[in-house]
Structure formats: C-alpha cells, structure tokens
Symmetry: C2
Subunit: 243 residues, 2 copies
DNA sequence: ACGGTAGGTATACGGCGTACACTTGTCAAG
DNA sequence: CTTGACAAGTGTACGCCGTATACCTACCGT
C-alpha cells in the first residue's frame, strides 16, 4: 500500500490521488472505516496533509461521489427513449454494485455537485428527446426517485444550489450571472425547474408538491401491479419469454 | 429538559424512556447530533447509565426504528387491496415526515427487528388477500422497494435473521425451534421466502435474483411512463380530475 | 434486618475531525 | 546559481465520540 518513496523521491499528493485512494479504501474496507487518519496513512502522509487538497471530510465525500458518477456510461444517442433510459439506469446500477458504499453516501449528500447535475441534466434530456412534455418529465424524474438513487427527492427544492450557502450573500448581479451560467450548463434542469416554479402556485407556493409526487409514483406502481395481477403474471413466464 | 428530581426522588430510567428521549432528541436536533453523551445529559444521567438499558448505540438506533414503525397505522381490513396498500404506504410516509432522520436510519439498518418484520408480514398479507400469487407478491414487494423505505432491497437474503449472528451457533434443534417460531409469527414472510428459495435454482442458487428484481421494477415504471406519454398526461389535468 | 442485584456512577482509553503554528520542498525571477 | 515566496507536508493539541471496567448504592424479597 502506502508508497513512501519513488526512487528516493516522494510522490506529490493532489486532489485526484486523494479521491482515488478514498474510493479504493471505501471499496475495500467499507465506508464506516474510511477516516481521514486511515486515508492519510494509506497515502503515507500525515492526516493534516489531506486538508491541503480537500476542505474537510464532507467535501471528500462529495468528491468521491463526483468520481463515481463519472463512471456511469453516457447515454447512447441512437436508441429510443425507453432503451436509452433503461441502459443508463442499469449502468448506474452496475457502478453502485462496484461501490457498495455509494448508495448510502449519495443519499446522505444534499449538495448537488457538477457531475451529479450533469447526470441529471442528460437524464432529463433523454425524456424530452423522447417526446415527453416538460411537465411529465418533471414528475417522471421524481417517480424514478431512488431507483436513480434518491437524490431526485429534493431535486428542485432550491434552484441556486452549488456552494451558494456562503455566510454572506454575493452581490445580486453576481448571483444573476451564476444563475445564467447554471442555465447554460444545465439547460434541461433549468427548463424543468422553471416550469415547476410557475405551475404549482395552486399549492403552497414555489417548490414541488411532494405529496403529489409521492402519490404519482405510488399509483403508477400500484396500477402496474394490478395489471400484472389481472393477467396472471408469473416470473417464470417472464424469464422464459426474455432469456 | 432533564428532569432531575421528582419531589426529592429520582425518576427511574428504563428502556422505553431512553428510546422515547432518543426519538425526541433526534426529532429536535437531527440524527447527526444524537450522541450517547448528549442523550444521557438530556435524561439527567451519566452517559454509561444508558448502557444498562441498551447494549450499544446500534441497538439504540434499532430501538428507535421499532418505536417509529409502531406509529404506522395498522391496515384497515375492509378496503380493496389497492386502497389498503395505498393507505398504509401513505401512513408510513406521514411517520417519516414526522421523523426526518428515520429514512436515513432505516436504510442504514440491516437487522430486521420484530416490529419491522411484523410490518412487512402484514404488508405481504395485504397483497395475498388481494388475490396476488405468492410469486407476484414477492416481486411486487421488491418493486415497492424504497418507496416503502428500501429495506425490502435485501429482504430475503438471509431467512434466519434476528440476532442469529451469535459468535457460536446454537444447537441445531434450537435453530429449528426458532425458525418454527418465526414461521408462526410471520407466516406471510415465511411463505414468500420459502417459495423464492425453491423457485430460482435457475440462477446462482438461493436468494433473490437482484438484477431481475431491479429490472422488474424499472420496466414497470418505464411502461407506466410510456402509457402516460401516449395519452398526453398532464399534472394539471390530473390534479383537476382528483381534487 | 439483611444480602443480592439491578440501576447509576467515575474514570479512563483509543479513535475521530480538524484548528493552528511550524518546517520543508519546489520553482520562477534575479 | 542564489534566493525568496508560496505551496505542500508536519506536529501538536483540543474537544468530541463510543464504551470497557470497576465501583457504589438504593431497592426488594427473604
């Protein structure tokens, strides 16, 4: 492990090496035994050295998520929406299987980092390209929910998210510029979020009607169950039909 | 807070008071700031006193889950399966909203405690009573998955679960007795688990074919999405139609 | 009245994240 | 080649955490 010397010369640390090592360590020994001290030891370095490359443990975890999300296959452009979404979700599932700790970490994280936003944006894009209305896309994304890792739960709660919780607010023109940049980089998210913000003034106000989203997904499943029941579905027949 | 004296006499601690206080503290200050020390302080007691009533923090969390699950409404017997399941899930959701920490804790827990098993058993019972085959019930439970809190994910992995990870195994006849007792107390779980154990010898062996379960639920949702898309579903119309 | 025991206490240990002040290595400009 | 500034790495310390162990004490059945 801990390579100390490389022909007499120390290997310089950097953020990527730290994240890489953290992912590897979590893969091997489980997330609960990933500590800053243990990670430093693995890198042949004193604990505080890590803090030159990550602000704190929270940011380390965010970085690990970024790394993981980067492993998900990009959508293949040719397919119909259902095939594209299917392939994407199954690819995400494979990644989660490779990194058993990822599910737990993803669900504990509330910050949306760029890779996560990018993933969601391209995900939304698949539905829009498949002929879904913005409205339906919105609810469908919620319904996919934790099957795409749960972070969709509070997806559109706070539109101006990433690292915008600074102690003192930025000047308004800077905020506007940032929002515009966000809109440029994640056009699909922006589209859906803005539509949602306008739409449901009937309810409490801005933000999603969580109760509605929940019942939407629930009823979708229950209706599906009922259909299967009526046609006497069985897993044996399903498996025989496919494989 | 911390009531010290009750007309000159200390209020005796007990497991229920500990769990109750833990739930309240987590509700008020968040799960991340629930520590044994803080909890003890809240109860006007030295930290180690808690260990006379709870083995360790893990068991404390298990106990909190038990308490929470007990808050879910029992199924009302008259309804059709869909209404019954719907009401049950929505009741569970209300409980989770009351205790925001519960989702995270539930998903981190792998032990199945009695209340959780009881909840699942009665849940399965609703499907069986509604005319679902054991086979379909099994897969449907998986599909409901994290919408019923994720613990269905590894539901049937290890049939002989609760506290059976003692350092030295019990004598076989004791194990058999325990299994029989389990079967008596949770007949529906047992039924489904046994059917599943027999069925899928086609795959790796015992246990569930996770990939199949995942795709089953995914395709159920995707098919539902497609149906909505084709009929130009919109949330506005859906809301108008209902409310 | 008393002795056993369940409930509560005191102390201590090793691990954690990280603040703060420091030394060391590296590399560009003089 | 020297130098000096800035980035990278170090050492020490603090206040948390969970909990092992040994002890004390109030209560209850006898």
């Amino acid at each position: 492990m801990a390579q100390q010397i490389d022909s007499g010369r120390r290997v310089r640390l950097n953020r990527d090496r730290v994240l890489q090592a953290a992912v590897a360590l979590a893969d091997e020994t489980g997330i609960e035994s990933l500590s800053m001290r243990r990670l430093a030891q693995e890198l042949g370095v004193v604990p505080m050295a890590l803090y030159k490359h990550v602000a704190n443990k929270e940011e380390l975890l965010d970085g690990m998520v970024e790394a993981i999300v980067g492993e998900i296959d990009p959508p293949l452009p040719g397919a119909d929406w259902q095939g594209a979404v299917r392939q994407r979700v199954l690819s995400a599932r494979l990644v989660l299987l490779r990194h058993p700790w990822a599910r737990q970490v993803l669900e504990s994280r509330t910050n949306k980092t760029p890779a996560v936003l990018g993933y969601m944006d391209s995900f939304i894009g698949m539905f829009l390209a498949g002929g879904f209305s913005i409205d339906l896309t919105h609810h469908v994304m919620h319904a996919l929910g934790s099957r795409m890792w749960g972070f969709t739960q509070e997806l559109f709660q706070d539109p101006a998210v990433p690292a915008a919780d600074a102690p003192e607010a930025l000047p308004p023109e800077a905020q506007a510029a940032m929002l515009q940049q966000l809109a440029q980089r994640y056009p699909n998210i922006t589209q859906v979020a803005m539509a949602a913000a306008h739409e449901d003034s009937s309810v409490v106000g801005p933000g999603c009607d969580d109760q509605f989203e929940f019942e939407f997904a629930l009823d979708l499943l229950l209706d599906g169950f009922e259909r299967l029941r009526r046609r006497n579905w069985s897993s044996a027949r399903a498996k025989a039909g496919r494989g």
